[in-house]
Symmetry: C2
Subunit: 255 residues, 2 copies
DNA sequence: GAATGTTATTCTGTATATTGAATGACAGAC
DNA sequence: GTCTGTCATTCAATATACAGAATAACATTC
């Protein structure tokens, strides 16, 4: 977690990198933290850390408890998130398709945004009301190469195997596929336009992902998640439907 | 909007104040903006603004479109918001009560957090499924003194009339109450423990608010919103229920 | 096609944000 | 009560982030 130092050095506005790191740390911990604890964790100088926290407090992004002298995330972050959700075209465009897919196939469906090889973020979701649903939350972050989405990104992202290998090795699966097997699955995803993870990421759970293109790059993806056994017979139809939805969405995104 | 300059000067980490201002501006606009437009709006030097934007881009808080050279909010803000929602005790504790009230009385109910005399933020919400619902969004910001919540804060916040008057004058209502009338309503809220806004803030809409106490201060409030005419007969019961829910919540918050 | 208004971006000296040590405040141990 | 560890906070020196001018890139207008 000391790559914070790198990001700070590289920037012409290091205070911002520090601030973001602090916010993320506070978010990750959940519990309120003291100045020193934060500074230690992020490799910051305590005094600098204090000034960062004070600035963030002034912006209502972190809350300060004068009694315990502890800092925690505050509700200002919500305001920003709401503003973003309001203007993000992908969420709006994807939601109807996600709802339809979730209803028709009884799966949980997600819309995700791809940032880079290290993370993707869930930005839209729909759950089928009936039967047990597999739950995630909007805003969740995942490593980009994991599960079906990972195969999508590997297939269409235009990255070299040298870039992919170390990150692939760092992933955590219930049932990790071998590198060569995985490459074969990636190749298959590239051909068919849809990627499938059959119980590797989560045992017994099948994940299907189709890329959404924007400006010639796979910037987002549609994902369907269901119990493997229950999905088996429907799988071809679901793959087709997901691919179709992703395709029309790609057209809309570039318009 | 040039109070940004003040906030910047006052801080020992001015870049953070600038960054927050940029994020808020981008959120407010919704549409992507160019470096210069942002700088002009906030009274920043273009070059500085550029560095701020680059730093924020590196943190995935703003997105940069290389073709149009425009900047917009990015999904990183969502991750922070989710982390905050996860650990905010008030939202968790309030949600069941809000759901129950919304169901029993057919109203929209909100949980809000009070920051200061200038803003409160909606952090939890429940809508009654049946009939037309009055809609707000989680993360919305309002001036603190408006509507029923405003009377709560005025009644219990321990502010002097001198502090209140100028802010009261700046409020926007559908049917603005006079200062003396308003003070009388505030006094009544103080006595009864519940504040009511009967069509002043929004014509035809009744808003009821009860304070939630934490550490001896009204830090949050529960709010119910309904069509005035439809609510009339239920009003006493609703006031009682809201007051009760706020009371038990206050106990839980301090625990 | 030259001119003029934009824009984003690079460059450099200086005001200042950051640092690391020093101070003060507090709690628990003995 | 004194000591010892940890905490937040202040302070003065300096490395550096920032303001402002200069440049480059790009439309739009004449």
């Amino acid at each position: 977690m000391t790559d914070v130092a790198d990001t700070v050095k590289a920037s012409k506005a290091p205070a911002i990198a520090r601030a973001a790191a602090v916010l993320r740390l506070l978010g990750k911990r959940g519990a309120p933290m003291g100045v020193q604890a934060i500074a230690r964790e992020l490799g910051l100088v305590p005094s600098t850390c204090l000034y960062v926290l004070r600035a963030l407090t002034a912006e209502n992004l972190v809350a300060f408890d004068p009694d315990t002298k502890r800092y925690a995330l505050d509700a200002g972050v919500l305001t920003l998130a709401r503003a973003w959700l309001r203007k993000d075209r992908f969420s709006d465009l994807a939601q109807p398709a996600l709802d339809r897919l979730a209803r028709d196939f009884g799966t949980t469906t997600l819309g995700v945004q791809v940032f880079d090889l290290d993370h993707i973020i869930v930005t839209a979701m729909s759950q089928s009301g009936h039967n047990f649903q597999l739950s995630t939350q909007v805003g969740s972050r995942f490593p980009a190469l994991v599960s079906a989405t990972g195969r999508c990104i590997a297939a269409f992202g235009g990255h070299t195997p040298e870039e992919l290998k170390p990150r692939f090795d760092a992933l955590r699966w219930d049932d990790p596929p071998g590198w060569d097997d995985w490459l074969a699955q990636v190749a298959q995803a590239r051909e068919s336009g849809v990627a499938v993870d059959d119980g590797h990421y989560l045992a017994g759970v099948t994940v299907i992902a189709a890329p959404v293109w924007k400006g010639g790059r796979p910037s987002h993806a549609l994902v369907a998640i269901g119990i493997g056994a229950a999905l088996r017979s429907e799988l071809p139809r679901l793959k087709q439907a997901l691919k179709g939805a992703a395709h029309t969405l790609s057209d809309q995104m570039d318009a």
